[in-house]
């Protein structure tokens, strides 16, 4: 065999060995880079859609945020985070909800999908807040009564703890009312947020039309454990025993 052929074979062998060693390292680096790129895209989208003017001059206050307790039993746990919260209730609500969406340090304690963003937030004079979330809130929240209840509870309780003016919460998905969050939890109504506050006039009342003197249908056992409130709120409360 000619000498130059031996050299070529030797170089090729070395290259194959180096390639075999380097290829797994390269693959790991590519995966890490892709993950970083994904996170960056998510952060960029969040920054674009959730730009909330924050006045650095605002005093930093302790905001109470509700994430999963980690017990696996569907309960929530409050965490205190120092934020320069605005005194304006709408800006303040956006700030705490965006922080809630950003998630806790431990990602396993998330209650809302990482891709979900708050698109808009309105507060009506009667205390009803309308929070409009992007579609991932509905499509990426795990399907189930417990998981959907946790998601809504974390939003409602976070607002309750930080924005006293919010008394009720209506959740929209991409500007639309949807029947359920992910197949179970009813989003057609509003959730009671601050039960202690003064009750506004009902806004979603749809009483059945009945002529005067019409007989009541003979419903089987319409019993209630407690008397009906005199001025019932037009709300379905977020689970009172969620925590």
């Amino acid at each position: 065999m000619a000498r130059w052929i031996r050299w070529v074979v030797g170089i090729l062998c070395v290259l194959v060995i180096v390639g075999a060693i380097y290829f797994p390292i390269l693959r790991r680096r590519l995966r890490a880079a892709a993950k970083l790129q994904q996170q960056t895209a998510e952060q960029a989208r969040r920054e674009l859609t959730q730009a909330v003017p924050v006045n650095p001059g605002e005093p930093r206050v302790k905001a109470k945020l509700f994430w999963a307790s980690g017990n696996g039993d569907g309960t929530l746990m409050d965490s205190t985070v120092e934020l320069p919260l605005s005194s304006d209730p709408v800006l303040r609500s956006k700030q705490v909800l965006n922080t809630l969406l950003a998630g806790p340090v431990d990602a396993d304690l998330r209650t809302l999908p990482p891709d979900a963003v708050l698109l808009a937030f309105y507060l009506l004079p009667n205390g009803t807040a309308i929070a409009d979330f992007s579609e991932p809130l509905a499509t990426a929240t795990p399907s189930g009564i417990q998981s959907e209840q946790m998601a809504v509870d974390s939003i409602a309780r976070t607002l309750e703890a930080n924005v006293p003016k919010v008394q009720r919460l209506k959740i929209l998905i991409h500007g639309q009312e949807v029947e359920t969050l992910a197949g179970h939890l009813d989003l057609t109504g509003t959730f009671l947020v601050n039960a202690e506050g003064p009750l506004p006039a009902p806004v979603a009342a749809t009483p059945a039309a009945t002529p005067p003197g019409a007989e009541k249908p003979s419903a089987p056992a319409p019993a209630t454990d407690k008397p009906a409130p005199a001025a019932a709120p037009a709300t379905r409360p977020a689970s009172p025993d969620g925590v």
Binding site: G72, D73, G74, P142, S143, G144, I145, Q146, S147, Q149, M150, V152, E179, T180, G183, H184, L185, D186, T188, G189, F191, P202, A205, T206, P207, A208, A209, T210, P211, A214, E215, K216, P217, S218, A219, P220, A221, P222, A223, T224, D225, K226, A228, P229, A232, P233, A234, T235, R236, P237, A238, S239, P240, D241
Partner: protein, 278 residues
């Protein structure tokens, strides 16, 4: 019957068979809109079959009806709702477990356990169909002396546990003397639902460690439009690696439900006078 349907957005029809007397009171439940009901409640004749009227007047009727025969006072019927189905698989596990399939298997065992307790069982679906929420409720609302149970498998929760949910407190309709709004059909039954839920949850807690001892509250869409004591039973969870882990729970869940519903029977009081309340 005269009905001014001007500006009615949506309407549901339901027949109510009273306490075994076969005197049906046909009434209309308005979902939304500002409809005006001019007249209602013409009682059907003694010989009129109740069940055909009881079917909702929608093109997608529920797959199964209950026989109108042998009406008895009190709790006789259990409407069993295996959730999801059709194009809606419900919760999905990484191991390919689909909620819509498992709840059907659970329903078969629950059905057998209930029938052994003497209950007549009606299922909202028998196979891979997906009736709407309203269709499932309509089937329950058409029964006399019934309770409603919807079965679910969760995506979360401690594996091997089971939870019972009753609906959150609904606002009381402004017209308490009138018809029940379809949107709030569950309202008058919340007390009974809570009682049934606590009974079943207590029995589940005895069989499945880590389960809560009392029923929890949640705004479950399926329960809201159901005019009967109604609970949702959710098992954890689809994330188990082996489906056999869930299958092993089925007999215990079935027994707890059947025993709980049987224990609830004395609490279920049907009004004896027209429009009366217990």
């Amino acid at each position: 019957m005269l009905l001014d349907v001007e500006s009615i957005a949506r309407m549901k029809q339901c027949a109510w068979v009273r306490n075994g007397s076969r005197i049906g009171a046909l009434f209309l439940l308005f979902v939304s809109g500002a409809g005006v009901l001019s007249f209602s409640s013409p009682a059907t004749s003694e010989t009129a079959p109740a069940a055909p009227q009881a079917q909702p007047a929608t093109p997608e009727s529920p797959p199964q009806t209950i026989s109108p025969a042998v009406p008895r006072a009190g709790l006789n019927v259990v409407v069993l709702d295996p959730a999801h189905g059709g194009t809606d698989p419900g919760a999905r596990g990484t191991g390919g477990i689909r909620e819509s399939e498992i709840v059907l298997d659970f329903a078969a065992q629950v059905r057998r356990a209930l029938e052994s307790q003497g209950f007549q069982v009606v299922q909202t679906r028998q196979g891979n169909e997906d009736p709407s929420f309203d269709d499932r409720s309509a089937l329950a609302n058409a029964q006399s002396g019934a309770v409603f149970l919807t079965l679910h498998i969760a995506s979360t929760g401690l594996p091997g546990t089971a939870r019972v949910y009753v609906n959150s407190d609904l606002p009381v309709s402004g017209d308490v003397a009138g018809l029940i709004s379809w949107d709030r059909a569950q309202t008058p039954f919340q007390g009974l639902s809570r009682k049934l839920g606590d009974l079943v949850q207590g029995l589940l807690a005895q069989r499945f460690k880590g389960s809560p001892s009392t029923a929890q509250t949640a705004a479950v869409r399926q329960l809201r439009t159901t005019a009967a004591p109604a609970i949702a039973v959710e098992i954890s969870s689809v994330v188990v690696e082996n489906r056999a882990d869930l299958d092993r729970m089925a007999p215990g869940v079935a027994d707890a439900i059947a025993t709980g519903v049987a224990a609830f029977r004395p609490s279920y009081v049907v009004p004896t006078t027209r429009g009366g309340t217990p």
